[in-house]
Point group: C2
Chain length 272, copies 2
DNA sequence: CTGAGTTCATCTCAGCTTGAGAACAACATA
DNA sequence: TATGTTGTTCTCAAGCTGAGATGAACTCAG
């Protein structure tokens, strides 16, 4: 049945106070990614209380609903700022790219109550350690390789850093989104300093995609895509770590989409 | 501030009963797309009650949180089935593709209370009119061109079918997602009958992208992408509407990604 | 039944992009 | 100073794309 009955039901429910009806809590979780020492890292916090005490989880928390009501991206920025220990205004978070990743609301994903969590994905340039002077075990940038994530979105047996709730699935989805976004948007520049070199940009792609790229072809491609990068005219202070000429400096261009896209080589195998 | 303070705050909030804390309601809305008479249509319902009485809205409703708790896709399928008047089991909904589109939670988007809405996107083959025997003004497939949507996600002045809440933004996002998905996934087949012809598939692309495609190149491309379509060996009953040979029949292949992708021609202009 | 116009399916061809490799100068380090 | 590494630019073959042409199969009007 539809139509009149459904209309009546919706009108009824919409006029109902949800406090008295069916309590669902809304949280935001943030998958914040950065690159350190050439490896992709995700920001995690260690849980102090049950459930999942001692396990690692994404930074996040409740959305302020009515008192100090905030929009969802606001809540994500607030949580990220609180966990990272830096202010969102004027600080390093200014240059962080933030986008919605997805919403996770399966019954039972939180054993205490019904929680619907809106996950956000953040791309950050190298940021300081979270609360460097505090308890180092509470929050840390963690190499994603150390999480033992499988394609199915869970963790391999034997992995020491266990993730709480369904956060392994959320991190997996975030990584896949990041890998995909690097293909057709210029967001790799969000992992770099304001001025960067082509080899630095290539290192970002290699860290996120987990495979080496042909330096010559990458260089040609990046310069041939309109609006991806623009030259600053400058040159880096020194050459590569183990030699080589000083690379030229670039900054992010004004393109929002890469055309043609930079496709990852390994894509062939994942198609089916 | 982060670390210990933040930990305490989260532990405090997580143990808190949200009913007594900060009430946020969770709903699902469905952007159901289909193709009728060669044009892209979206399923809309007319609101009978304020706010926005008489305006059109996406089918949707509250997620069942604790009593009869359901997952978010379940809620979307239930709402879609209720509004469409067909059963999800065994009926035409079996072949509907459903994916999460995004979550909309700006304060004030519903004037009555704080509502966070998880939007789903559905691709459907041609379905019957919603509750054909009932009040025809209550639910209807609407040509998306009749909504006067702008790139900014609102409606042009003078458009007669006004959308309630922020549903113009949600529909706009759904359309952009659909256009994009057709490029790199075989989901155009979700708009077709189980067996279809290449010209029918091309009509889907032309309806969603809103531009004509080169028939010869499209044909070559579809057949050259591995796993996009597979031949049934059969032939359609008759030729095109105004003549031509009987086209061959195909069914959807097993590819989940199109490689190489089918890029829309107009992409060049939207890049910046 | 016939002729005109339409459509499916395939082919051709020039232009562009890609992947792989080579070359060479500039540089770090021992 | 010698050696190995790296940034940048070429070259070349292979593949893909857009635009157009062709001919057979078909619908429909007269």
């Amino acid at each position: 049945m539809a139509g009149p009955d459904e209309q009546d039901e919706r009108a009824f429910l919409e006029g109902y106070d949800p406090r008295a009806y069916d309590p669902v809590a809304v949280t935001v979780d943030v998958v914040a990614l950065t690159i350190r020492d050439g490896a992709l890292h995700v920001l995690l916090v260690r849980r102090g209380e049950p459930p999942f005490a001692g396990m690692w989880a994404l930074p996040g928390g409740f959305v302020r609903g009515v008192r100090d009501a905030e929009d969802l991206p606001e809540a994500a920025v607030r949580e990220l700022a609180e966990e990272t220990g830096v202010s969102a205004e004027g600080g390093p978070l200014e240059r962080v790219h933030l986008e919605q990743l997805g919403t996770y609301g399966a019954p039972g994903r939180d054993p205490r109550m019904r929680v619907v969590s809106v996950a956000y994905l953040a791309f950050a340039p190298e940021l300081p350690d979270p609360e460097a002077g505090g308890d180092a075990a509470d929050a840390a940038w963690t190499p994603v390789d150390a999480l033992g994530l499988t394609e199915a979105g869970d963790q391999r047996p034997g992995t020491t850093r266990r993730l709480a709730f369904d956060h392994a699935r959320i991190v997996s989805d975030g990584l896949e989104r990041a890998r995909s976004k690097l293909e057709y948007t210029p967001l790799a520049t969000a992992f770099c300093a304001p001025e960067f070199t082509i080899p630095e940009l290539r290192a970002v792609y290699e860290a996120v995609w987990g495979e080496e790229l042909h330096a010559g072809n990458f260089h040609r491609k990046v310069l041939s895509v309109p609006g991806f990068v623009e030259s600053t005219g400058g040159t880096a202070d020194r050459g590569g770590r183990r030699g080589g000429p000083r690379p030229k400096l670039y900054r992010a261009g004004d393109a929002r989409l890469l055309h043609p896209a930079l496709l990852r080589p390994s894509r062939e195998e994942e198609i089916r």
